[in-house]
Each structure stands twice: as structure tokens, then as C-alpha cells.
Symmetry: C2
Subunit: 375 residues, 2 copies
């Protein structure tokens, strides 16, 4: 049956930029491609566009599905579409794959035009600021001077926040969901274990695995298993899996015994089959580096003084990766700057992953906020 | 300078048992050795002995140091000694390395007398109940009919608890510290990621790494790095490491950048040099399997109905591996059985590792409890 709230069949597009991009690391990308998708129609005054920024492992495919695969549903399809919280009857929505990604935008698995070879481990480190700088080029390409809203969860929320600091006149509203103003030592620790799993995999070959016809599957699998634990809450894992055994009595062996083991190993295997290891490394480093208050010695108020946008900040009660406490710190600093901030702590049992879930209160809040935007 | 509160130079002993041990898995150990140490003197009535059960990666060396290495201080030396909370002027303290261990007790790195070869991966799975059954043999060997107290933190606390269920007339007091009555799905998940890191290390050779002259260092290192994150609290990591950089400005590379990365990698490397991979696998499975309420369908009250001991249960506010909530559930079930229970939730910023730390209130509580024991 036709889903009238889906944006339907979508077609990814690619755009090439020849203007060099000067990265925070000091490296320069002479040219690069960005993959993106759009949903809805840009209005005449070009005032109705919404940019969606993706988190660690996702991409430009935010809503709808591809003609050749009805199951290829975008990662935030429950949020975006006709009649959905971010309503494509009102808004022109843009999804983009970030630089360093592995889904079409220039990244480690792309050919370096200078050398004619794969970038591989030679792809430069990218930061949230670099991503925003590249997204600005996409906005220019689409003729968008100002986004009505920029939204994202987790690392995506960090990009929305960064936009308001680097390009305050180009973003009217920022939706910063399940994010933090910087990673804690514990966050960095989890990322580093994941990276070490990949880097010490003998099939990693110093990042040059492609030319060895290898894939560091073991490392990617472990990284994903570990990541997954931090995306879920203790509570949601207990509810979903408890101590359920997969096959009757205890086996007293190292095969899967508990349901949670089966689930995690499956998630790990699936991820290892489809995600690029160098990209995973880059994305986790971008997370580690994000710290807009670094230059103001940790003073968030000063760090956010450039912002002019209105904000919707949302956190989830069981999110222990980026806990509500972290969102409250963002809200406080925004309020200290006398900005217009809406904030809600949403009761949800799904941990960090809550931002991807179809929680009624969560969606109604986003809907109300988006409906209220004047375009 | 002479430390008058140290038990001083200690000498580990080994005892051989020929009586077969029937394990929960159905396997039988025809004979086995246990390594142990003792501190203080057994009194004439043999009523003053205290058994210390170790956690995941430690062993029988609980207090004092070895003559050839003054730095080889036991893992709970701050708790045990003349004048310390578990006072060796009053108590005869016994430390034991559990079956499956890698510090002298029979385990994967021991020779299987039947085959004349290393057990390796062929060493049978052991449970907390099996450990207790072996510890009973050690008690018999030492002529101890009843322990004045059995104490342990984490997995060690689980053994203390198991003693009160399996041998209620042989334990007067149980000190169950930073423990839980069973693992949650999240706990099991962390263990399984650690196990998968070891098992998928190409140097693991299905557990037969010794005969390949290999050590699955990568896997052990990752397992330890991950474990370490769960032993510390978010708060203690933030306090100790924050986002401090190791070497000035950001390096935009995958070498150590943040202090926390340096610390974790160091801990991982050190562990990989000294711990046996098969033992690590066995210990984490023993944790997963521990669930005394399994036969009573989760009813802890029923599960604990056999217990007769008095209890001191302690938890630490920032322990997120086995949170105070988990200890409270134990306390409630013990109280439901009208047992004599003392309980305290100790404010500490050190997470699960708090049980190893020298916190004043914590130590004074243990001291008071131990002083009060009539021998």
C-alpha cells in the first residue's frame, strides 16, 4: 500500500566542487564531491530549506527509498515526509554525506585526483568545522542563503551547533538533539578502543587494506559491537534481551549463549560488511575533536556568543553517551547569551538511539517547533 | 622504612587435590592444584579465618610482598594487615587463586595429567559454584570448618554470596562488596565484546596459541582497555584525564592525543604481557553464568533462603558496572529472609574500582564490622 507520509522514491545526487577546502588540520582538499538528497520543493524565496546533518555512521539518505530497493529506507524517515514532524509539504529538506564518508562523498575510498590512487589512510583528518564549511558550499550550489533550520542528532547535532557559530547569518533555527558540547574522557576512551580494534587488525595494513585486497572486518565488527552498547541504555537492553538464552540450557562454551550476544555479533557482522574502516576512524576523531569552547578555555557562554539562531535542544533521560546533563550545559550557555532556546528532556528508555526512534512526545515537540517556523 | 601495617614478606603455597571435582558443566577435574597465601595465625579453635575471594583478573596474592620484589604488593594490601580493617593480629587470612586462573592454580596454562599436554582451550568452563566447591577443599586442607568471614569485591563478592548458599554452616559472615546477584544484558554485552576481541585475534588459534608460540596480545589489550572503562566512573575519568592532550596541540593523527588514550593503551599493553587469554575468557563466562536465582525463576528471596550468615553489603555511588541498585536488591532479598544485614552506599568517585581504593569511610566500615566479629 502506498505510504502517503513517505517522500517516496528518491535519487541521490552528486556535486563536484573545485574550490579548495582548507581543513582545520592544515591540509587542503583541492576538489571534492558531496553526495546529497533533497525532499520537498524549494520555495520561490528559497526560505524553506532544512539541512539534516548525519551522525557517526549514516549518510545523505535521510528519507524515502530507492526505486530498486523498497527496503532502502532513509535513516530518519520517521521524522521527514509529508505530514511528518519535519513536513516536506512545507520544507525543502537536504541530506548530505559528509567529507571523509564512504557513501559517495569524497573520502578514503575515493580516488585522489592528484595521485590517481585511492586516498586510503592518506585522506586528511576532518572536523565538524570542515564539514560545515563543505556544507556551506552545497548550500551555495543550491542557492540557499539561509537555512530555515539545521537539524541533527548526536554528531549531527554538533554540526547544527557549529553552523550557528561559524555562519550565524545562514541558519535561522538549530535543532540540537542528543548532543554534547564536547566529548568526555569516557566518550573518547570508547572511541579509542574502537579505533584500536580497527588499527590493530592485521587486515588493516596501516589503512592501506584496499590495495591488499583485505578488509579489517574483525576490527570493524568489534568497534560496532562496542558502539552499539553505548547507543542503547542498560534498561532497554535489559528489556529487549534480559538474560534470555538463545538455545535453551547453558552451553558452557564460547558460542552465542545469551540473546544479547547474538544481537551484538549480528550488528557487528552487518556493519563490517558495509562500512569503510578509514571512514570510521575519521568520524570518531571528528567527535573527539569537537570542542567549540576550546579557544575560550572551556567557557561555553563565550564560545556561543557568536550564535544568533533560535534553538531547540532535546535530550533523552536514558542517554548515557550524551546525557541530559550535557544538553543542559548547552542550554545554559545559550540562555546566558540571551538566545531563544526551547529545551525538553524526553523520557525514553532507548538510550542514545532514542533520537532515531518514533517516540510520540519527541515527534510532537519537533513537529510543533517546525510548524512554528516562519518561512 | 619498615611498614608496620604490612604483613611483610609472604610465600605462596600450592596444594594438590586428588579428589575429583565435578563441575557444573558436567566436566570432571580428576585432580587439581590451588595456589594460596595466608597471613596472620590460625588460632587454636580455628575460628578466626577469613577467606578472600578474588575478582576477574587477580589472584591469591592479596597482601604483603615477595622477598625478591618489594614492589609485588598484594591487590588488597590496603585492606589486610596488622592494624588494617581486616586485621591480621586478629584474623588468619587466606587468599586463593581460582581454578582456571593463570597464577599457579590449575588452569588452561597447566598440564593436563591425563594427556601430558597443556589444557589450553580444553580447560573446562568453571562457575562461581565450582570455585566455591574447590575453596571448600582448601578449607578442609587447612582444617577450617567455618570461616569467620568470607570477603570479596565484584566477582569476589559473588563467591562470598555463593558460599552462604552452598555451605551455610561454613561461613559466619559474608562481605559482599560492589557485587550483583547476576549480570545485566549490558554487563554480558561488554564481556562478549572483550571475548570476541580475544577469540577473533588471529594469534588466538582457537585457544591453542601456546603450541603456536603465539599470544593473542591484540585481543587481550582491547579486552583490558574496554574493561578498564567500565571499572572507572565517567566522573573519575573526567577528573583524572579530562580532555588533556598528551603533547600540546592536536596532532590530527591516530597516535595518542588525549591522556585517556595513553592511559588505556598502557593498561592494555601491560595486561597483555602478563595475563592468559584462555583464563580471561573463563573468568568472564563465570561472571555471565552467575545467577543464584536462576532456579527460582529470578526470585532472589527464595534463592537466598538457604543462607544463614550475617552480611555486610557495600556499594559505591559511582559504580555503574554493578550499581548500588544491584546491591540494594541483594540486601532486600537477604532482609526478606530475616537475615542480619548491614548495608552502606559509599560516596566515592572511583566507580567500580572503588572497592580496591583506600577510602576512609569504606575502610572504617569494614574495620568496624570485622572488629565486631566474635571469634
Amino acid at each position: 500500500m502506498l505510504d502517503l507520509t513517505s517522500v517516496g522514491i528518491v535519487i541521490p545526487k552528486s556535486v563536484h566542487f573545485d574550490k579548495p577546502l582548507h581543513l582545520k588540520s592544515g591540509a587542503v582538499l583541492d576538489s571534492y564531491d558531496l553526495m546529497y538528497e533533497t525532499y520537498g520543493e524549494l520555495n520561490e524565496t528559497k526560505s524553506n530549506s532544512v539541512l539534516i546533518c548525519h551522525a557517526l555512521s549514516s549518510n545523505h539518505h535521510v528519507a524515502g527509498y530507492y526505486a530498486d530497493d523498497p527496503k532502502s529506507i532513509g535513516w530518519w524517515d520517521n521524522m521527514i515526509g509529508p505530514g511528518k514532524p519535519i513536513d516536506t509539504r512545507k520544507f525543502f529538506v537536504v541530506g548530505v554525506n559528509n567529507l571523509g564518508g564512504c557513501h559517495g562523498s569524497t573520502g578514503p575510498a575515493s580516488i585522489n585526483a592528484k595521485t590517481g590512487k585511492l586516498y586510503g589512510a592518506g585522506f586528511p583528518m576532518v572536523t565538524v568545522q570542515d564539514w560545515v564549511a563543505a556544507q556551506v558550499q552545497l548550500a551555495n550550489h543550491l542557492g540557499i542563503k539561509q537555512f530555515a533550520a539545521i537539524a541533527g542528532g548526536s554528531l549531527g547535532g554538533m554540526q547544527a551547533l557549529q553552523w550557528t557559530l561559524d555562519f550565524p547569518d545562514r541558519v535561522q533555527h538549530a535543532l540540537v538533539i542528543a548532543a554534547a558540547s564536547k566529548l568526555t574522557a569516557q566518550n573518547i576512551a570508547f572511541n579509542d578502543v574502537a579505533r584500536q580494534a580497527i588499527i590493530t587488525d592485521p587486515d588493516f595494513y596501516g589503512g592501506d587494506y584496499c590495495s591488499h585486497d583485505a578488509v579489517p572486518r574483525r576490527g570493524l565488527r568489534l568497534a560496532r559491537m562496542l558502539g552499539h552498547i553505548t547507543y542503547l541504555s542498560d534498561h532497554s537492553m535489559a528489556e529487549k534481551f534480559g538474560r534470555e538464552l538463545r538455545n535453551g540450557p547453558l552451553g558452557f562454551g564460547f558460542d552465542v549463549e545469551f540473546e544479547i550476544e547474538s544481537y551484538l555479533r549480528y550488528q557487528g557482522d552487518k556493519f563490517a560488511d558495509q562500512f569503510d574502516a578509514n571512514t570510521y576512524l575519521l568520524m570518531t576523531k571528528a567527535l573527539d575533536y569537537f570542542d567549540p569552547a576550546h579557544d575560550s578555555k572551556g567557557d561555553l557562554r563565550e564560545a556561543f556568543s557568536a550564535a544568533q539562531a533560535d534553538f531547540l535542544v532535546l535530550s533523552f533521560t536514558t542517554d548515557w553517551r550524551f546525557s541530559p546533563e550535557r544538553s543542559r550545559a548547552i542550554v545554559k550557555a545559550l540562555l546566558d547569551n540571551e538566545l531563544n532556546v526551547s529545551y525538553a528532556e524526553i523520557t525514553s528508555s532507548y538510550g542514545h538511539d532514542s533520537f532515531l526512534m518514533e517516540d510520540r512526545y519527541y515527534h510532537e515537540l519537533v513537529r510543533a517547533y517546525m510548524n512554528n517556523i516562519i518561512i
